[in-house]
């Protein structure tokens, strides 16, 4: 019964979406208020129906209803409850339903908190949202219905891929989707603005917080995914340039650019058509990610069971949505009135540079991701594009970006003083030089990239502090006055400083862990000791341990430093019976100073075991830094200007509610 309820709710949601996508749009064109006003209640009804469908599927998974095909294929009665719940979105059909649910939550948020939007804009935004929902609802109902029954019902399910049975991964997709789908808001606002033919600072003030919400979620989601890859896959790396990782990284790059260009629209009424284009592209890349994961066009560890019929459907949808909006852009964008002019050396100019570099980076990632497909289509040759390509093109783009990141905020709007800004960054420059020389000395002619990386960390971290001190006129006016300034500084400014400082921390983690990592890869017999970095690892014993739905072989390492025991680490190799699969479960001892990382592998048959041991200094800062960036985003979201005039005061609460809803 519950499956039929969910199925029926989805069909009803489609009907509501059809109404929401048409009447308000026509009403807005004809200035017919009652029709426009239908958009709000329709969005709420759609959200309710999508919630019913989503929680129906979740209930089926929780009670292990094996008469539902989706549960049979992705669940197992012996699976821990957390993964029964997470299994709902650990598969193609269920993840689509989650996507739709989140989309309607955003729609409902506009309906609830967007009451002070101009009626026409609100109606059009919700109508565009509805069309996206229609596409996804049709896709789910026609090609990927999660509520299909099986008769007779099997006694038990086939289980969830063991790699996905991990708490970190359980919440990685919902965050990613909250990010992806969140960019649909910027997209809907962009299309609504193109239909209206008007983009003004008020529009940007509306778009920016939504983009920021989506960006915070996406950043969190990507960081969680990277953290999961780091500690479960047992390869010791944290980013692999896998096509699906790239699929989430591209919207992030475009979204970050959008976040910055929207500032220019808001403050200076300029860069309008570019910002609109970025809003369209960011959501396009989110959709493209969905296409790449589900169509089987590219191979990846993440790929869902693929099906050409689904691929055709998503592609058609992609062409309709993106092609349509880009044609609309081509027709309407030239008519957008451009506002303030600016000199190349100005805050606007710096933000344009930021946009150019981020957009180029995004383009190169896209090229690298699609290149195997391009080559296969043209010559039939099979290649895979890996880290060497991405590192070679990505790092040269990030270096100037980070270099300019410290300078940009010090430039004035309209016409900046580069020499003055650089002059004020003397401290940052000195600190960068110290970091570079220190690294150089420590590594004794070490890799240039390490020296450069550490110099950038010093430059950016101190640059951010200098910029903040400049705003407070610290040490140039009495401390009391600085304190007063500090209290009156907008939160958005603090948000920016925090987020930029987070970037410096991420760079620190990347540069330091890559430079000072030490490792041991080899066969160890119980009782043997090896030295990795400043630590001694002793393999004490290896033995079998039963798990809830797997059998594990656990190695016990005693870790000591200078003869003092520091930790006991117990990595495992797990063997799952359904579906049969071996996974490694690494042991990790994470501290802000350094991570210790141990993996135990196959026995060599002569009493030894393959072991991999790593000492990775400062690697945690990659993820801590990302969280600091998100914190910056959240602080910026709480800025007064988003609350005054726009009743988005409860946006934090709303975002929280969305997370709660996704977790529940």
């Amino acid at each position: 019964m519950i499956a039929e309820t969910g199925h029926f709710a989805m069909i009803l949601a489609l009907a509501v979406a059809l109404v929401q996508g048409t009447l308000p749009l026509v009403g807005a064109q004809r200035n017919h208020l009652p029709w426009m006003a239908m958009a709000g209640p329709a969005a709420l009804a759609q959200c309710l129906l999508a919630a019913i469908a989503f929680f129906s599927l979740m209930t089926a998974h929780i009670v292990s209803d094996f008469s539902v095909l989706n549960v049979v294929q992705n669940s197992h009665s012996a699976k821990p409850m957390l993964y029964k719940v997470a299994g709902v979105w650990g598969n193609h059909e269920g993840s689509l339903l989650l996507w739709i649910f989140i989309l309607t939550v955003y729609g409902a948020a506009v309906a609830l908190f967007g009451r002070n939007l101009p009626a026409g804009l609100r109606a059009r935004v919700l109508a565009v949202q509805a069309w996206i929902a229609i596409g996804f609802l049709l896709f789910t109902l026609l090609t990927s219905n999660p509520f299909v029954r099986v008769d007779p019902a099997p006694a038990d399910g086939q289980g969830l891929n063991p790699l996905l049975q991990d708490p970190g991964l359980a919440f990685h997709p919902p965050f990613l989707y909250l990010g992806y789908v969140g960019f649909s808001m910027a997209f809907a606002f962009a299309i609504a603005a193109l239909i209206e033919g008007r983009v003004d600072p008020a529009w940007a003030r509306w778009v920016r917080p939504w983009t920021l919400v989506a960006w915070c979620f996406l950043t969190t989601g990507i960081a969680m995914g990277s953290w999961w890859a780091y500690y479960t896959l047992g390869w010791g790396g944290w980013w692999y340039w896998d096509p699906v990782e790239n699929a989430s990284f591209m919207p992030w790059l475009a979204g970050t650019a959008l976040l910055h260009s929207a500032i220019v629209v808001e403050k200076r009424d300029s860069l309008k058509s570019w910002t609109i284009l970025l809003a369209i592209l960011t959501f396009t890349l989110s959709l493209l990610g969905t296409f790449l994961v589900r169509s089987g066009v590219l191979t990846s560890v993440h790929a869902f069971a693929s099906d050409p019929a689904r691929g055709i459907f998503i592609l058609a949808f992609l062409v309709l949505v993106v092609g349509g909006s880009l044609v609309l852009f081509a027709v309407r964008a030239p008519t957008l009135q451009s506002g303030g002019l600016f000199a190349p050396l100005s805050r606007e100019g710096a933000l344009v540079l930021n946009n150019l570099l981020l957009a180029t980076a995004c383009g190169t990632v896209l090229l690298g991701t699609l290149y195997p497909l391009l080559l296969d289509a043209i010559t039939g040759e099979k290649v895979s594009v890996g880290p060497p390509f991405f590192n070679a093109v990505f790092i040269p783009l990030m270096v100037p970006l980070i270099g300019a990141l410290a300078i940009g905020p010090l430039l004035a709007w309209k016409r900046g003083d580069l020499a003055g800004a650089i002059g004020r960054l003397k401290a940052a420059f000195a600190f960068a030089a110290i970091m570079a020389l220190g690294t150089w000395w420590w590594l004794s002619n070490g890799p240039l990239l390490a020296v450069l990386g550490m110099a950038l960390v010093g430059w950016l971290a101190v640059g951010v502090l200098v910029e903040l001190a400049e705003r407070l006129r610290l040490f140039r006016v009495p401390l009391a006055e600085s304190w007063a300034r500090a209290r009156h500084l907008p939160r958005a400014t603090y948000g920016m400083s925090i987020a930029h400082f987070g970037v410096a921390l991420v760079v620190l983690g990347i540069a330091a862990s890559g430079t000072w990592q030490s490792d041991y890869l080899g066969v160890l017999k119980p009782g043997q000791t090896v030295t990795v970095g400043p630590y001694d690892f002793t393999l004490q014993s290896v033995g079998p341990v039963p798990g809830p739905n797997y059998q594990a072989m656990r190695g016990t390492f005693l870790v000591s430093r200078d003869g003092q025991p520091v930790a006991v680490m117990q990595p495992e190799t797990r063997r799952y019976p359904v579906p049969p699969m071996d996974t490694t479960s690494s042991a990790l001892r994470a501290t802000p100073i350094a991570d210790l990382y141990a993996v135990i592998g196959e026995p060599d048959g002569k009493g030894g075991y393959a072991a991999r041991l790593y000492h990775k200094p400062l690697v945690s800062w990659i993820w801590l830094g990302a969280m600091v960036m998100v914190l910056g985003g959240l602080v910026s979201l709480s800025d007064r200007r988003h609350r005054v005039g726009a009743p988005s005061r409860r946006k934090g609460a709303l975002a929280g509610a969305a997370v709660e809803a996704a977790r529940a």
Binding site: V297, L315, L326, A330, L341, L373, D376, K382, P579
Partner: protein, 190 residues
């Protein structure tokens, strides 16, 4: 270009505004092309190579095991890699039974990383299309063959060389248009 877009006056450089749509059209065409390609089809390095040397015991309750010597008897055969835990194997199974019924091409089975009892129970339940079976419990022989997922099938020529590799379940179309014609060409009974 950004600065230009920002300051451009009405009507000029219309092409600039149209370019995103044009570029997208090209990407969409590429993606459409991509749908008909399968990135998983990787040319096997084992084609035209002799089968690896191995000797496997039969799965439980079966008499004939499988070894590389069985593939060097001047006969064209199909070696099918399967497992009782493999869902797609159930899909192609009726086709293999049909092949056995027609008797056009001998089919040998390798039970890949499977408990021999489970394999035997599976064959007892669904029917046994194999004239010989080998229980590759450790998956070692599978690795030598270059198996990276079940089901996979290998068409072996009279000379004991691998002539064709099928990744994934065999469809009726694959059988009629690829495997059987090739088997005939290799001089089998088919």
């Amino acid at each position: 270009m950004l600065g230009r877009i920002a300051t451009m006056s009405l009507g000029r450089f219309m092409l600039v505004y149209a370019s995103p749509a044009v570029i997208f059209a090209a990407v969409a065409m590429l993606l459409y092309q991509g749908l008909s390609l399968d990135p998983r089809v990787i040319p096997s390095v084992m084609i035209d190579k002799p089968v690896p040397t191995f000797d496997l015991p039969p799965v439980a309750n079966h008499t004939a095991g499988l070894s590389s010597a069985d593939l060097h008897k001047g006969q064209v055969v199909l070696v099918n890699v399967f497992a009782s835990w493999c869902v797609s194997c159930r899909v192609e199974h009726p086709l293999l039974l049909e092949l056995k019924r027609q008797g056009v091409l001998p089919v040998y089975g390798i039970a890949y990383k499977d408990n021999p009892k489970d394999s035997a129970a599976w064959l007892a339940q669904l029917g046994d299309p194999y004239s010989r079976t080998g229980a590759d419990v450790s998956g070692r022989v599978g690795i030598d063959f270059g198996v990276y997922g079940v089901p996979e099938s290998y068409l072996i020529g009279k000379d004991g060389r691998i002539a064709y590799k099928q990744i994934g379940p065999i469809t009726p179309d694959d059988l009629q248009n690829k495997i059987l014609p090739l088997a005939r060409k290799l001089g089998g009974q088919g």
